[in-house]
């Protein structure tokens, strides 16, 4: 995340250009904490063994359903497997599902939103109506329909979350394209006689797409929350994969005796999503050139 936060604050440029790590001191504690958590989980996706010495699949029947302690900081499950190790090893699949779903959603949103924003009245009308139809399918119900037809799998989760969250983003993209299309600088470019294709390529597209960076960051967190919800219902990646939603589903029968099996993976999901939201808002403020509060 450091590369995103590193461009120095424009107000600082004139005064102290040569001070290294200035951005680090200017970082707000909330943003720093969020960045640290995201970095930690990214590390977990790449080299999970670095963050835990335990095997996520190692069954230990002498230590089943143990409450969190120094030995097992998130407790153990019904087979005595260390929950913290399972969360760490599950990060990769959870994150990939979140990224895949968000990428699918964004691709759909950009295609539909740009078509509606740049197309004529008819194209806009058809796409907008189509979006209304998509809004009538809540994410989770779409997922249930897909699971009933295609069976539960990571691909089904990605497909359902990707399609289910696309119309909201598509509406935003359309609004953005319309705003940029009618802006002063596009009008100026048109008056200067630039060809339409190059105006779209050089002015409309880059400017309309900029807010998507933020939307993507927020979207990954949202997608993970949705996908975990699907998996929580037992309709996601089949066990014994330690994917976060699958952990939630596996812990369900034991909730009256072992709260940590549900609370801990859920806490990781919530904190991760919250961190991505915080980072997304931070990037947004930077991009808009606003003064960070």
């Amino acid at each position: 995340m450091s590369s995103l936060a590193s461009p120095p604050n424009p107000t600082a440029l004139g005064r102290q250009p040569s001070q290294p790590l200035l951005w680090l001191r200017r970082l707000r504690p909330g943003v720093a904490l969020a960045g640290a958590l995201v970095a930690f989980l990214l590390l977990a996706t790449l080299v999970p063994a670095l963050l835990t010495g335990k095997d996520p699949y190692a069954v230990d029947l002498s230590a089943t359903l143990q409450a969190p302690s120094l030995e097992h900081i998130m407790g153990t499950d019904q087979s005595g497997r260390d929950l913290y190790a399972r969360v760490i090893y599950g990060a990769r699949e959870s994150l990939l599902i979140g990224l895949g779903a968000t990428a699918l959603s964004m691709a759909l949103a950009i295609a539909l939103g740009v078509a509606a924003g740049l197309g004529n009245r008819w194209v806009d009308g058809i796409v907008s109506r189509g979006l209304e139809v998509m809004f009538a399918f809540p994410v989770l119900l779409l997922a249930l329909l897909f699971v009933a037809v295609f069976g539960p799998s990571a691909a089904t989760e990605i497909l359902a979350v990707g399609i289910g969250t696309a119309p909201g983003y598509a509406r935003m993209v359309r609004g953005q394209v319309l705003a940029v299309r009618d802006s002063g600088y596009v009008e100026a470019a048109r008056a200067l006689g630039h060809p339409y294709g190059s105006i779209v390529r050089r002015h409309i597209f880059p400017n309309a797409m900029r807010p998507l960076v933020v939307m993507f960051t927020l979207g990954v967190g949202q997608s993970i929350v949705w996908a975990s919800g699907i998996a929580f219902l037992g309709l996601g990646v089949p066990p014994p994969a330690p994917e976060w939603g699958a952990l939630l589903n596996a812990g369900r029968p034991y909730v009256t005796q072992a709260w940590w099996l549900e609370v801990m993976p859920g806490l990781v999901i919530v904190l991760f999503s919250l961190s991505l939201t915080t980072l997304g808002r931070h990037i947004q403020q930077r991009l808009e050139g606003g003064i960070s509060r």
Partner: protein, 346 residues
């Protein structure tokens, strides 16, 4: 949805008198305005029909994507075995469900059935989907409506008491809204369950459908929604607080709380009312999870079982019903809008 329509309307009319009253003798004008309003509603109804038709088409063609032989799947579900049947054994099932007909004929039959309220026949229970749904719909309806009312009450209370107050109070209010709007239903539900049902034992773990059993599920659904509605309303609320008519109301000597309740709120709820139609989808998604967390009977619990058993007609029946409710709710929201803001009737 009635709560959405009535709460702001019940606040009394004087909030929106800042524009000049129509001149006398404007009855022709009024008639033209009513005509335009009727035309807009008519357009909305046509649009709604289109959305329903497209949703039905999508649902039908997704069903046909079911891999493998559907008759075989049905027979296997009946006997709960995995075996291959001969064509002679499959023929009666195919005839019963109409799989032997050409796909376009099946599609037209499906659409025709929907018009008559026939959502198909469950693969597993061999009952009309509509019968199964109407048997289960009661508890879910109670849950979602309670949650919607609760969410509005919580959101409005937070807004009225915390927006534009002392720095600490207002940032606590908006911070809570951001945090609670991001809470996943499954996590919030488990936390409430562990704290209030398992540790403190105030509420039953499996509440059934009684009033006591409704408290935790409804709270689980309402808290994130309240955060969401609150976020949207707060932005608008703070904008309206700067409007000249607010200053003029204060100048007339109206108390701060009265100004907020009677003048500001009525304007500020508009965006959130629009989103209540959308929120219905979120509520139904949420109900699926909440009913699973609290082992509460209802549509949500049933549809999860159906999806696991790959009972496609039952799942798509619920999906179609939700699309229908969504469309109707959005028309009602449109009407509610016109009730709250008379300017839109023009």
């Amino acid at each position: 949805m009635s709560s959405v329509a009535q709460t702001p309307a019940a606040l009394g009319a004087p909030g929106l008198r800042q524009e000049p009253l129509p001149p006398a003798g404007a009855s022709a004008d009024a008639r033209a305005r009513r005509w335009r309003f009727a035309k807009r509603i008519g357009g909305r109804l046509l649009g709604a029909l289109f959305v329903l038709w497209a949703a039905a088409t999508f649902t039908f063609f997704v069903q046909t994507l079911l891999p493998g032989n559907r008759a075989q799947l049905i027979l296997n579900q009946q006997s709960s075995q995995q075996q291959t049947y001969t064509a002679a054994e499959l023929a009666p099932v195919e005839a019963k469900y109409g799989f032997d007909e050409p796909i376009m004929q099946q599609y037209l039959d499906y659409l025709g059935g929907l018009v008559h309220g026939d959502l198909g026949t469950s693969y597993q229970q061999h009952l009309p989907v509509l019968d199964i749904i109407s048997e289960q719909v009661g508890p879910t309806l109670v849950l979602t409506v309670t949650a919607l009312v609760l969410a509005w009450a919580m959101a409005l209370a937070t807004i009225l008491f915390t927006s534009r107050r002392r720095r600490l109070v207002s940032s606590a209010g908006s911070g809570w809204e951001i945090f609670s709007a991001g809470l996943p239903y499954y996590w919030l539900g488990v936390i409430l369950l562990v704290v209030f049902a398992i540790e403190l034992q105030i509420f039953p773990v499996q509440g059934g459908t009684g009033v006591v059993g409704l408290v935790l599920p409804a709270l689980t659904l309402a808290i994130p929604l309240a955060g969401f509605l609150g976020q949207v309303t707060r932005d608008e609320f703070e904008k309206v607080l700067d409007e000249p008519f607010v200053t003029s109301a204060r100048a007339r000597g109206m108390g701060d709380f009265q100004v907020r309740l009677r003048h500001v709120l009525r304007h500020a709820v508009l965006p959130a009312v629009t989103l209540s139609g959308w929120a219905l989808g979120a509520l139904i998604s949420g109900a699926v999870i909440v009913e699973t967390v609290f082992a509460r009977p209802g549509i949500g619990n049933m549809i999860v079982t159906a999806a696991t058993a790959r009972d496609v007609p039952l799942v798509s029946g619920v999906v179609m019903l939700v699309a229908f409710v969504y469309v109707v709710a959005n028309i009602l929201v449109d009407l509610a809008y016109a009730v709250i803001d008379p300017r839109l009737r023009a």
